[in-house]
């Protein structure tokens, strides 16, 4: 007897409430602070621009750290090549050591950095070959998610560079919301005609991320649309004219790997599949005590630079900064002037209220005085 019948089970499941999966919250663990005093060496043995090295020391970890660098002062810093030439650097304050002029470095030689600190400890980097960076092809941009992605294109026709690093400094012109012609003088509690215009200003910033690129896996030594910085939609940076000054360095594979590890340790964490952060070893060694670790990797070569402008008019229309700038009326009464103009407001111009009272039109200081966010001195390179 074959008894066959079909039984089915239908299972219906659903979620009765919206899941609120909260992933990332700021966290400040009480880590045991160890006494760190590691020497940090940053710089590039550059044959194309004056050399600039920065020496500092690591400091105790605290979350939200804003402490100033512990600069390493009074050290003797020298660039050496493998043909017994030395190029001493001059201390320029704040732990920087510079060459006053462009050094005439022979591209066929190998170079290293030699440091003797004020306490007499001696450090020496490995000898590294001199590498010529190819010229930057373009610094371009494209719209992405409403914002602007700035990228670099470059290539080396000789197929020898392969490992690249970039640093940039950006400058932008911006205008205050109102063009103020009046100025409050707190000493006399009065409003006078503005002497120095505060409508047009410039602001600068520099790269804070380690920017690396490699074409090692490609058939040609080409870097295509390597992202440099992302400008959020409606950012003031692009409200008038924006400029990025890009510096391109050639690295060797070890230098590239060293900086990649440093980048991974500090910039690329927080995903589900993170690699474990770890200690990375550079090419600078303490001669006095070989067990002492030093942060930094010395590379040498000719860097190249390129400045690019992006104008607001080249963007799709609508790139206007969002700013809350209500205009108010401040009567020309000493109490009112003092109350408003020493309390976050700045006058725009002489004005009259609808009731016929004399006074000043005014708005928040940030909407009037652009020098609160930048400088009104036009940079030399600005068109």
């Amino acid at each position: 007897m074959i008894q066959k019948y079909f039984s089915r089970k239908i299972m219906i499941c659903w979620l009765c409430a919206l899941m609120l999966i909260n992933c990332k919250i700021p966290f400040d663990p009480s880590l045991k602070s160890s006494d760190t005093n590691t020497l940090v060496v940053e710089g590039y043995i550059d044959g194309a621009t004056p050399v600039n090295f920065k020496l500092s020391r690591s400091r105790v970890l605290s979350v939200g750290d804003t402490a100033a660098s512990r600069n390493e002062l009074n050290a003797l810093v020298t660039i050496e090549d493998d043909h017994q030439n030395t190029y001493p650097l001059t201390e320029a304050g704040n732990g920087t050591y510079i060459s006053t002029d462009i050094l005439n470095l022979d591209a066929a030689y190998q170079y290293r950095l030699h440091i003797v600190t004020s306490t007499g400890r001696e450090y020496l980097s490995d000898l590294v070959p001199f590498r010529q960076a190819p010229p930057i092809d373009t610094t371009g941009w494209k719209l992405k998610d409403g914002g602007l992605q700035v990228f670099v294109n470059t290539h080396d026709p000789n197929n020898t560079t392969k490992y690249y690093r970039w640093e940039y400094s950006e400058t932008w012109e911006f205008h205050s919301w109102y063009n103020s012609v009046s100025e409050y003088i707190s000493a006399t509690n009065s409003v006078v005609t503005r002497a120095v215009p505060v409508h047009i200003c410039w602001q600068s910033d520099h790269s804070t991320n380690i920017l690396l690129g490699s074409s090692a896996k490609l058939a040609n030594d080409v870097i295509n649309e390597m992202p440099l910085t992302f400008i959020e939609p409606h950012d003031r940076k692009l409200s008038v004219l924006y400029s990025i000054w890009l510096k391109q360095y050639a690295l060797d594979i070890n230098g590239y790997n060293y900086l990649t590890a440093m980048k991974n340790n500090t910039e690329q964490v927080g995903s589900i599949f993170d690699p474990q952060p770890n200690e990375t070893v550079g090419n600078i060694h303490c001669v006095t005590d070989p067990s002492e670790s030093v942060v930094g990797y010395i590379s040498a070569g000719n860097s190249v630079e390129k400045r690019t402008f992006i104008s607001n008019s080249s963007l799709p229309p609508g790139w206007i900064p969002f700013q809350d700038c209500p205009q108010i009326f401040v009567p020309d009464i000493p109490d009112s002037l003092q109350y408003y103009f020493s309390g976050g407001y700045d006058p725009i111009a002489r004005s009259q209220s609808s009731a016929g009272q004399l006074g000043y039109s005014a708005s928040y200081s940030g909407c009037v005085d652009c020098t609160l966010g930048g400088t009104n001195i036009k940079p030399a390179f600005w068109p």
């Binding site: 074959i2 089970k9 919250i25 700021p26 966290f27 804070t208 058939a219 952060p277």
Partner: protein
Amino acid sequence: MTNPFSDIKMRICILVSFILLFTAKNVLAQESADNLVTGYFQGVTFNEFVQKIEKQTAYHFYYDPAQLDSVLITISVSKAHLPSVLDKVFSNTDWHYTINKENQVFVTRGFTLATELPYGFFNGKKDTAGIVTKKDQSIPGYINNTKRAGQEISVENKLYEIGIKRNDVPKGNVNVAGYIRDAQTGESISGAFIYQDHPQVQVTTDQFGYYSLVLPAGRHTISIMSPGMFDAKRQVMLYSDGKFDIALDEKVVRLKEVIVETGKEKNVRSTNMGMDKISIVAMKQVPAIMGEVDVLRTILTLPGVKSVGEASTGLNVRGGATDQNLILFNGANIYNPSHLFGFFSAFDPDLIKDVTLYKSAIPANYGGRISSVLDITSLDGNDKKISGSAGIGPLTGKVTLEGPLIKDKTTFVAGVRTTYSDWLFKVLPKEYNKSSASFQDATIHISHKLNNKNNLYLNGYLSGDKFNLNSDTSYAYHNKNANIKWKHNFNNRFYGVLTAGMDHYDYNVAGTDNPVNAYKLSYTINQYKMNVDFSYFLNNKHKIAFGLGSLYYNIHSGSYNPLGKQSLVIPDTIEAEQAIESAAYISDQYTITAKLSIEGGIRYSLYNYLGPKHIFTYAPGLPRQESNNTDTDFYPSGKIIKTYGGPEYRASARYTLSENTSVKASYNTLRQYIHMLSNTATISPTDIWKLSDPNIKPLSGSQVSLGLYKNFKSNTIETSVEVYYKWIKNYLDYKSGAVLIMNHHIETDVFTTRGKSYGVEFLLKKATGKLNGWLSYTFSRSLIRQNDPLAGEVINGGNYYPNNFDQPHNASMIGNYRITHRYSVSLNITYSTGRPITVPTGIFDYSGSPRLLYSDRNEYRIPDYFRTDFSVNMDGDHKVKQLTHNSWTFGVYNWLGRKNAYSVYFISQNGTIQGYKLSIFGSAIPFITYNIRF
């Protein structure tokens, strides 16, 4: 199976033995439908009970109401024969009943009323139920089983004749063998206990549900015990060697609330140490994420098993890494057992029968991994009828079908599961909400009986995952497995299984965000294997297993290719790797006395790393770096490049101190020739498996463990304590900044470490009753050490440092309380110490930002993990005549909403350092499941 009622003499024999129980009734088969009892009685008086039965049937009861007024009855039956109902009602009481031909029922106390000679005494017609009145063994709790009632309940009092009948009194020893199956579905039951107390004999069924038993010829009562099944007894008369299959009744109706149960005193009796077997029924009780029953997550609640976090189903068993577990699904080796980047395990729960984890005494037939064996078996398929189920969950939809293909010969079970989980990403944090993911898996298992001696089993498994995490990089991985098993019984005591199979795992990553750099990275493992395993039941004292097998590995360790016409990527392929791993083993389960039994085994494994391959040689005495590469040798195809091998010892012993107390000890050594390379703490989709080669030695591990097992309250409460110490050699860790993907000389980026781990595990389990569940606590450490400067880097000053998954304290509780038999509540509480992470020790400024200085590894721990889940299971009413049977489960995962840390990390953002805690399920996640079956 012989027919016990084949001749009259036999029948007389039975009647003589039950002479006092003589009674008569109609043959069940002839009974009219009207005489069947259906109903749900809860706490009703005997009077009410009788009234209802008299309404439904032609029976009429005679009894003294005054005597029975204190009796309350709780029973649920469907179309049951009255005797079986009364058997249950009167079990463990001194009430007896008698039914005569006129359907008159006499209920008496302390004695049985004999009415007349039994039906079938004089005619030769089949009488399958010889008796009606009997003392059944106890049925725990109330009876809520509608299935058991449908089965003949009197089989336990039948006398089964085995062998060739003789007239003289049989002498000598006789062998009985057969299968233990589920009476309802025909599913074979592995791990069932068959025992007899005088003379004391005990055996367990193997993976096929097969047992073989040697007893003195003559009459015996054997008992059978298996988790989730009613205990059973069989009366056998042994004349000579023979076959005897036994069908057990399921204790739990599927889809209803579940009972966590172990093999009762099995934990005390068995020599198996550090072995946990969980049936799917028990798994379904554990409150699961999104209501998806999860095999691996249930295993994680067992003592000694951990994972690094909620996004990972990678198991760390007793301080072993996630690659040190042999995960077998119907004998197929599964390399990536997870779906959806580790949130779910890749096994469809509707197809799973049970899961066995071996964590200390690993039987000699297993090898190739050093920490544990996780053996997952699917159902065999119902051999009675075609049945199916379909389900829709918040994340998955699935269909399962099972049944006979050829009656009494072939059964199959097959299922597919797929997901539509993209909506999940909409509610995930911003970083993931542009992601997408999908996964599928499909399983098929066919078992075919060629004849009494030969069985064939066919298994197939496919799983695939595809996802991208908020970028233009997409990941995909697949498991594909197939194998065929041929089981041949040479005789009752000796059988062999020939297995041939192939296992495949691959992943690929495609990056398309930049057309010039667009690439596709692929990685593939293929392995082909052939094993032959024999089991020989020499006698009740010796059970011998031996076999040999070979496994051929072919690993395409990576290829990196351009994607699209504009791509300039240079195709790059890492040389494939080949190897053969062979092993031969023999083991003996030796019961020395009733109190002492040992199991000893030796496995010899031999590994040959084969060409074609280029091998780099490094200067001895110098750190292993590319710059110290002295030589590159090429080995042609098939040439043996390197051979590793050695014996592996497996020994365990059990000594019974008292009926419910025993001590066990075990010693194991194992070898592993394949390493998973991953510098993330979890199993990630781009992990690489690397074979041992001349530069990378195989892993080896050894473990000693000792345990004490004690059961209380007639084996309803089990307790155990196990301690272990483990040594691991040649475990790989990674140099700082190691590159693992597309690395042509990976040996320069890794170094070997020595590991040790130790711990103590406590387990308290209550298997039956209204309140059931388990409570476990583990203290354990897992440490590794790298102190060889030649390896490239000395880690943490050459001292032992904690492994990524070292979590010293770990406690969990799984509890289920049945309020009534329609309502039950489950609670799951988990606590563990946070896992170790490497934290920064200082800050420095570089490239315009403060950055972090790291030195010693794993010096800090993330905050402790604590989670509570609960669920309420609600069954619909138990009316039998209704269209659908339904049940509800609702619950909350992480109902305290604790933001448990998955990781803690520090990042340089906008010029400052910020610490973050990442939680995967950072709030309470409620779920409702509605089950309907029709």
